[in-house]
Amino acid sequence: MTWVNDVVQGIMLGGFYGLLACGLALMFGLMRIINLAHGDLAVLGAYLVYLLLEHWNTSPFVAFVAVLPVMLLIGYVLQRALLERSLRSGLLVPLLTTFGLSIVIQNLLDQGFSPDDRSLGASAGSVATASWQITSQLSIPAIGALALGVAVLIFGGLQLFLSRTQAGRQMRATAQDPDTAELVGINSRAVYARATAIAVAIAAVGGVFLAIRSSFTPYSGPTYLIFAFEAVVIGGLGSSLWATLAGGIVLGIAQTIGGQINPEYPILAGHIVFLLVLASPRGGLLNLRGATT
């Protein structure tokens, strides 16, 4: 029964990783950019929510609604001002650019908020601590269920956006062949900017859950970037959105089961699964044909 519990906890943890990985997969699938600042952008979102809550006594989720347009704008400007230029010089330059951006964000947060540990757990209220006891060995934490639910909603919403709307079709067309997309009247730069705006906003959703689940500092980003990156790779490198969520869930389950074997093993178990997938012949366990390519 403890195994069942591990798997259930792993699935919910995976929903959280899926949230962190979603924007990373979107940007990689569309522009082949590996955004090394993705984790820091998630943490930035958490700090913006934290900042609002200092002046406004409400739930982090309500505060996030106010932060959302800011994150969309940050993503849009980031693409237009920085990534668009770096994309012109090949694949390595965006990687270096986002690496630099990651350091800049960390240091700005350090300057602005001090390196102290923060958490949004207390302001989230009962949702942070509540759980449903199913059996004596199986309990479902409310925050985990909420993260998974939000992840399913966001992935589903994004899937609908990509398959049903004109902006989504343009995004898929541009991902497949940016050159030809321009020739049928698609402004590929505008498509890229829209995608980065969405990716950064979703990263911030992940950041809020990160901040409720545990404490965070200006330097928390890279740790979560690794988990997000592993989820993307296990899920077949952004080849399909749902596979990215599945990749997060595989990682989550690996970590909880690893933790069951030995409390020191969860992170290691996750890395081992990631490496096994990387070493497997297709380089992606769930390399399904999907929406983003």
């Binding site: 079709r169 343009q170 898929r172 497949q176 050159d179 020739l183 049928v184 009247g185 402004n187």
Partner: protein, 240 residues
């Protein structure tokens, strides 16, 4: 009145000069066939007019406006559409999605997703099929349809008959004849000299990036064209 004006255009692929000192004026409503050997610069020239290749010198004007620095997607809005070599459909998008995705970037006019599917009846039953699964002829029809939904004033066609069965080529040319009859200006690259001279008002021969011969199909003999195609005339001149 001329719709397109190319003035001393120079196009490069790195160090290679693909098109040199190329000037051409295309009248509104005219159909021009570009002929020339592989590597003569025909594809590069079409891509430059569509905005996919930036000239290193010279200017491109469309409808009296200098568009040399205008990005490709804005040229589509102005009424330039390219059917690229090798079709270049979006492989995992369905036929309908391939048309839909182009439908908002161009001009409005008589061509819509529905009217294109009406004009190419074979597309009707393929609507929901992914472009990657189509035959060559079906792909070509989709590619031409995708260009038409932008309601172009200038249609650029790059080797639309390449790799198609003769029957498919016939049906492609039948539908092109309709488009031309409706007044579109067409610049097409075609390897089949017979087809090129039947459909075009003017034949333009390119050799190593230069314009070496042009004229109405009736005025040019087949020998003149083949000479220009292979550069026989030029070497003859050089020797004399």
């Amino acid at each position: 009145m001329s719709l397109v004006e190319l003035d001393r255009l120079q196009l490069r692929h790195g160090l290679l000069e693909a098109v040199r000192d190329f000037s051409l004026s295309v009248a509104d409503g005219e159909t021009i066939a570009l002929v020339g050997a592989n590597g003569a610069g025909k594809t590069t020239l079409l891509r430059a007019i569509a905005g996919a290749h930036r000239p290193s010198a010279g200017t491109i004007s469309f409808d009296g406006r200098d568009i040399t620095r205008v990005p490709a997607h804005r040229r589509v809005r102005m009424g330039i559409a390219l059917v690229p070599e090798g079709r270049r459909l979006f492989p995992t998008l369905t036929v309908e999605e391939n048309l839909l995705v182009a439908a908002t970037g161009g001009r409005s006019g008589r061509w819509t997703v529905e009217s294109v599917i009406e004009a190419f009846p074979l597309l009707a039953r393929l609507r929901r099929q992914r472009a990657a699964t189509l035959s060559g002829g079906e792909q070509q029809a989709t590619a031409i349809g995708r260009a038409l939904v932008t309601n172009p004033r200038l249609l650029l066609l790059d080797e639309v008959s390449l790799g198609l069965a003769p029957l498919a080529v016939d049906s492609v040319y039948e539908s092109l004849a309709t488009v031309i009859a409706e007044g579109a200006t067409v610049l097409l690259v075609e390897q089949d000299l017979g087809r090129a001279t039947t459909i075009a008002d003017r034949v333009v021969c390119m050799l190593e990036g230069r314009l070496v011969l042009q004229g109405a199909p009736g005025e040019l003999t087949r020998e003149q064209i083949t000479d220009a195609y292979f550069g026989l005339q030029r070497t003859g001149d050089a020797r004399s």
